[in-house]
């Protein structure tokens, strides 16, 4: 594990109540692994389950933390990122409160300030979601 708890704030521009990553397990220039334990007070939890928007935001912030790790290595601050496009996104499981999400994100391509990310969210051995996401990074 390389980042945990409030140290995540160094990697991503989001702040509570919308922080959806609580650990970064590993990161390289091409891929990263991040996680989230779903808590009852998460704003995307409804009736004991993390809703679709929460799952996708977790993917987006895993990608943001991944980009943030690379920014930190080059001494930059995390940039604001916006989801430009979601494609081929399969939401198989709505994770229950207490679930530990472990998410693998991989950089498919990067052109200018646009990153294309492929992501897979697992709970144990079960695949909860897979997704392709285009993220626009805003330059300061």
């Amino acid at each position: 594990m390389i980042f945990k708890g409030e140290y995540i704030h160094q990697l991503i521009p989001q702040r509570p109540p919308i922080v959806m990553v609580d650990v970064v397990w590993s990161a390289s220039e091409t891929e990263a692994e991040a996680g989230l334990t779903v808590r009852q007070d998460n704003i995307f939890v409804d009736d004991g389950k993390l809703r679709e928007a929460g799952l996708i935001e977790h993917i987006a912030q895993s990608a943001a933390a991944f980009a943030g790790c690379n920014n930190i290595l080059s001494g930059e601050k995390p940039k604001l990122g916006f989801i430009g496009e979601i494609k081929d996104c399969c939401l198989s499981v709505l994770p229950e409160v207490g679930s530990e999400l472990r998410t693998h994100v991989r950089l498919v391509t990067e052109i200018g300030g646009i990153r294309l990310i492929s992501a897979e969210v697992r709970i144990g051995e079960t695949i909860a979601a897979t997704c392709l996401m285009k993220i626009f990074l805003k330059d300061d």
């Binding site: 704003i43 399969c90 709505l94």
Partner: protein, 107 residues
């Protein structure tokens, strides 16, 4: 086939904007997605769950300052019992914020 338009208001006091982003309130793309899910449920008169997003394009940034209100357009077509193809868009005047094609199911 079932279709409808729901007019929504962004709540500038929502706690979401405290964290997304500090000093720069922007409606998170995934919240726009959640608006579609809830508006679709309102049109359908039954809760819906998103199974698969074929494509969702977020073309403009929505903020409570610049976009206090918007229209959510929903079209639902049943493919097999309880499963629907949804086409949805969020727009205001001639500005498009989001377009989506997905598969949803009765919850």
């Amino acid at each position: 086939m079932l279709s409808g338009v729901v007019r929504i208001c962004l709540n500038p006091d929502s706690s979401v904007y405290k964290g997304h982003f500090p000093g720069e309130p922007v409606s998170p793309g995934v919240c726009n997605l959640e608006m579609i899910r809830r508006c679709a449920a309102a049109v359908h008169h039954q809760p819906l769950r998103i199974l698969r997003i074929k494509q969702c394009r977020m073309t403009s940034v929505m903020t409570p300052d610049t976009t206090p209100q918007a229209d959510v357009n929903i079209t639902l077509q049943e493919t097999v019992p309880g499963v629907y193809r949804i086409t949805a868009a969020i727009e205001n005047g001639n500005v498009s914020y989001l377009t989506m094609k997905a598969e949803v199911a009765d919850e």
